[in-house]
């Protein structure tokens, strides 16, 4: 049995009042709820305010490059299928710099969990529009307002048949904890897009704004129906559904590629000379 204490507590570099704090708490609680020991979990993050999160709990950590947490997580999971691999980063990291990996990870369906702290802004670089910033969002880099439509990660993931697609809110800790638990438990790629207030740079989507606009999905909602899920995922900002939006039972990468991605891959077996001779025999 792991406990919250196992996951420790650290000083952070976040602004007072930031939504990151409750996300961190929810993550820790979820790990305990899933009964995972710190050394069985690997967090992979990118660069940004969100990406610092794994430094603030006890676990294995690979804090890599901006935008590249998913490929590192993918390589790690292939190398060691026993690890619970969680990629955790910001909206800029995952949908901006890392957009291509987001698409590929969904298609590939490797058993990793992606937690996106979605504050709709580039926090660490001081407030430029991110892919999820609202159209018209004004910043020093977008003085005439953000000209692009915001990216809707849950809708795109749903249309691409991602295995598990959820949206959470930093202000709904227990609910969020449960979503993260379910995401970790899901076999295959799972996305939790977490609505996160940024008190320093996002004056539009504040705690109270989210509190007004978020609605939990009803118990009766069926996340296995893709058509219905799309309707929900595409709902406009006035009614931002939170919960498990879509899920399916697509086989994960591992199940499909057993031949090549089995546990044999894991790097600790001794070298097998006989097999190597078999390989060489192709070339006589």
């Amino acid at each position: 049995m792991s406990t919250l204490k196992d996951y420790g507590s650290f000083e952070t570099a976040w602004c007072p009042g930031c939504g990151n704090f409750s996300i961190l708490k929810a993550v820790k609680q979820a790990l305990v709820q899933c009964n995972l020991a710190p050394h069985d979990v690997l967090f992979v993050s990118g660069i940004g305010q969100a990406a610092k999160a794994p430094h603030y709990l006890h676990a294995n950590v690979f804090n890599g490059l901006h935008g590249r947490s998913l490929p590192v997580a993918t390589g790690a999971k292939l190398a060691n299928p026993h690890l619970t691999v969680i990629a955790e980063s910001g909206d800029g990291c995952n949908y901006g710099e890392g957009g291509n990996h987001f698409l590929a990870a969904i298609r590939r369906n490797i058993d990793i969990t992606l937690l996106v702290h979605d504050n709709r802004v580039y926090g660490l670089t001081k407030g430029q529009a991110s892919p999820t910033s609202p159209e018209g969002f004004v910043s020093k880099a977008q003085p005439d307002g953000n000209p692009s439509l915001p990216f809707n990660p849950v809708a795109v993931a749903t249309v691409m048949q991602a295995g598990f697609v959820a949206r959470g809110f930093a202000g709904e800790m227990a609910h969020l904890t449960d979503l993260i638990c379910q995401a970790i438990a899901h076999k295959g790629f799972s996305l939790v897009d977490i609505l996160q207030p940024c008190v320093s740079f996002n004056r539009l989507n504040t705690f109270s704004w989210y509190q007004e606009h978020c609605r939990k999905l009803e118990n009766s909602y069926d996340p296995t129906n893709q058509r219905g899920a799309l309707d929900v995922a595409m709902m406009d900002e006035n009614r931002l559904p939170i919960g498990v939006i879509y899920r399916n039972k697509r086989p994960s990468f591992k199940e499909k590629a057993e031949g090549s991605s089995s546990e044999r891959a894991f790097g600790l077996q001794p070298f097998n000379q006989a097999l190597f001779e078999e390989v060489l025999a192709h070339y006589y």
Binding site: L42, G75, S260, Y284
Partner: protein
């Protein structure tokens, strides 16, 4: 001045899609099994069908290591082969071509391929005829055909053998004037037939690689295709990434978790990996990248050869960190140096590179079965139950190397960071730690140097002429030096198969003992000569360069040398 060379060269020319590579590969195999040495030069276009491709086999009873294009036997699958290669024919050469083609003025054997081989067996007919002309053992060819097709439909195998017999009978009767190869004896251990890319994949496997990631890119793709072909047998994971950035980051993730990883690419793809290389260095994660060079900039000539990316590979990635770069001179070195690259990458916990090029990538050779160097298991520090708690991934040590654990393999937590970090792997802005960590990372240069491969010197001591070269230029330069030698002209070659880091003491005395020193490189700006000058202060003013997309050959070098020599 140039000595006559005793090898024979066979050229197979035709359009992409006509099967000339199959003919070439089968003929190579027949030659290797018969005991001959071979050096292959493949030249193809950036297209799938049509255009003009060729496959040159230089073969000899004695060891041969350099390409040659003056042709003894031209197997022309189309008319263009004759216009393109006719002028390369030696005086006693023979052109083998379909009866409907025009041999122009050349001594020719017109083959009724349609009659002999029907619609799908041209390659077998061509192989059979070439084998017979060269004087190869008939049953050996027959066995080769059986070996090649035995896995297919039995009917197909039989059709092939029928074509073989028809073609054999026909060529015996035709009996054109052509001097075959002198007999070779296939004694000694059986040899493998491998090209450079296959050898890199096998070298990685021999080193204990456990994962491989790539995005397709000529001429590197076949490294990974070979790797994948054997992945199931060896229990290796692989994945085709969505782009090169993903490939290098996946490799870093896998390596971090204990599965040593191979990445293969070419210049443009490598360019996209620069940030990842810097990441491997900062997180101290082993990473081996094979870079198969092609002419740039940008897309350049995607299917041709060049040695133009040396300085880029040496300096790629922001920030300062050590690295090792190996540049195989032949197929054996592709194998052994890839193994070495893995070993040094694991030991130094950082990036290592295998720098090859299209010529060597596609160049088949006959090689002795490899002695796998029994590297200490790559994962030596994986289990460290006695590591002190809390484990410090970046513990400061006298040699800069910290004990390496894998996540999930013990109760220790492994924390790696791309930011500057404390000993325990956490992000820091403490500038005194920063300074120590810079020094820690740079200390690894000492390890790399202590394990370096010094350049190989061949030829006469105190040479009048010393050629300096690196990577795939080896065979051509060594042969050029040999052909240049006279009783009164001492010649030698200094070949670097590791181009970084360098220890000037290894080679300065040799260079200083030489008369004329000439650097030979497959690029336009003399990149390696520049590195040598930076490291030693020695100015290599005489340079032979090639940058038209073709590999260096002994004749190219010798005629360039004549010009230099005149100027001198």
């Amino acid at each position: 001045m140039v000595k006559r060379n005793s090898s024979k060269t066979i050229c197979i020319g035709g359009e992409a899609g006509q099967g000339l590579v199959t003919i070439g590969q089968l003929l190579c195999k027949a030659l290797v099994r018969s005991g001959y040495h071979i050096v292959i030069t493949q030249s193809y276009q950036s297209r799938i069908r049509g255009g003009h491709n060729d496959f040159f086999i230089r073969t000899s009873v004695d060891p041969v290591a350099a390409p040659s294009k003056t042709t003894d036997l031209l197997i022309a699958l189309d008319q263009a082969s004759i216009s393109e290669h006719g002028h390369l024919m030696n005086r006693d050469g023979l052109v083998v071509l379909d009866a409907i083609l025009d041999p122009e003025t050349h001594h020719a054997l017109k083959v009724p391929f349609k009659d002999l081989a029907g619609d799908g067996f041209l390659n077998i007919a061509a192989l059979t005829i070439a084998g017979a002309l060269l004087g190869l053992n008939e049953s050996l060819i027959q066995k080769l055909i059986s070996d090649t097709f035995h896995k297919k439909d039995k009917a197909i195998l039989e059709e092939n053998l029928l074509v073989f017999e028809k073609a054999l009978k026909w060529v015996r009767e035709a009996a054109p004037a052509f001097e075959g190869l002198p007999p070779a004896s296939p004694k000694g251990p059986r040899r493998l037939m491998l090209n450079g890319n296959e050898a890199i994949a096998l070298g990685a496997i021999a080193a204990g690689v456990r994962s491989g990631f790539f995005y397709p890119m000529t001429p590197a793709t076949s490294i990974m295709l070979t790797f994948i072909k054997h992945a199931r047998t060896m229990g290796i994971v692989f994945e085709q990434a969505e782009d090169e950035i993903a490939a290098v980051n996946m490799a870093i993730g896998a390596s971090f978790c204990g599965a040593p990883s191979l990445v293969a690419t070419s210049g443009g793809g490598f360019a996209l990996m620069a940030e990842g290389i810097s990441l491997a260095a900062m997180t101290e994660t082993p990473l081996v990248i094979a870079v198969a060079q092609r002419p740039g900039p940008a897309t350049g000539l995607p299917t041709r050869t060049e040695q133009g990316d040396l300085l880029f590979v040496l300096h790629s990635g922001h920030g300062e960190f050590p690295r090792a770069i190996f540049a195989p001179g032949d197929v054996e070195e592709c194998f052994s140096l890839t193994q070495k690259a893995f070993e040094i990458s694991e030991k130094s916990q950082g990036p290592a590179f295998v720098l090859t090029d299209q010529f060597l990538a596609d160049s088949y050779r006959a090689v002795l079965p490899f002695d796998r160097i029994d590297t200490k298991p790559l994962q030596s520090v994986a289990h460290a139950p006695d590591t002190k708690t809390p484990y410090q991934r970046y513990a400061l040590t006298p040699d800069g190397l910290s004990p390496r654990l894998y996540p999930g393999m013990s109760h220790h937590l492994v924390i790696a960071d791309s930011d500057e970090h404390t000993e325990d792997g956490h992000i820091t802005e403490d500038l005194s730690i920063r300074k120590k960590m810079v020094e820690k990372r740079l200390k690894k240069t000492a390890l790399l140097l202590s394990e370096r491969i010094p350049p190989s010197f061949t030829g006469d001591s105190h040479p009048h002429v010393l050629f300096i070269c690196w990577g795939s230029a080896k065979g051509a330069v060594e042969e050029a030096a040999e052909r240049l030698r006279t009783p009164s002209l001492r010649t030698a070659t200094l070949h670097f198969s590791q181009v970084w880091p360098l220890a000037p003491d290894d080679f300065l005395p040799v260079i200083q003992s030489a008369g004329v020193v000439v650097s030979v490189e497959g690029n336009a700006t003399g990149q390696f000569a520049g590195i040598l000058q930076r490291e030693t202060g020695l100015r290599l003013e005489k340079q032979i360069t090639r940058y038209d997309g073709l590999p260096l050959t002994p004749s190219y070098i010798l005629s360039a040398f004549e010009k230099i020599d005149e100027g001198h």
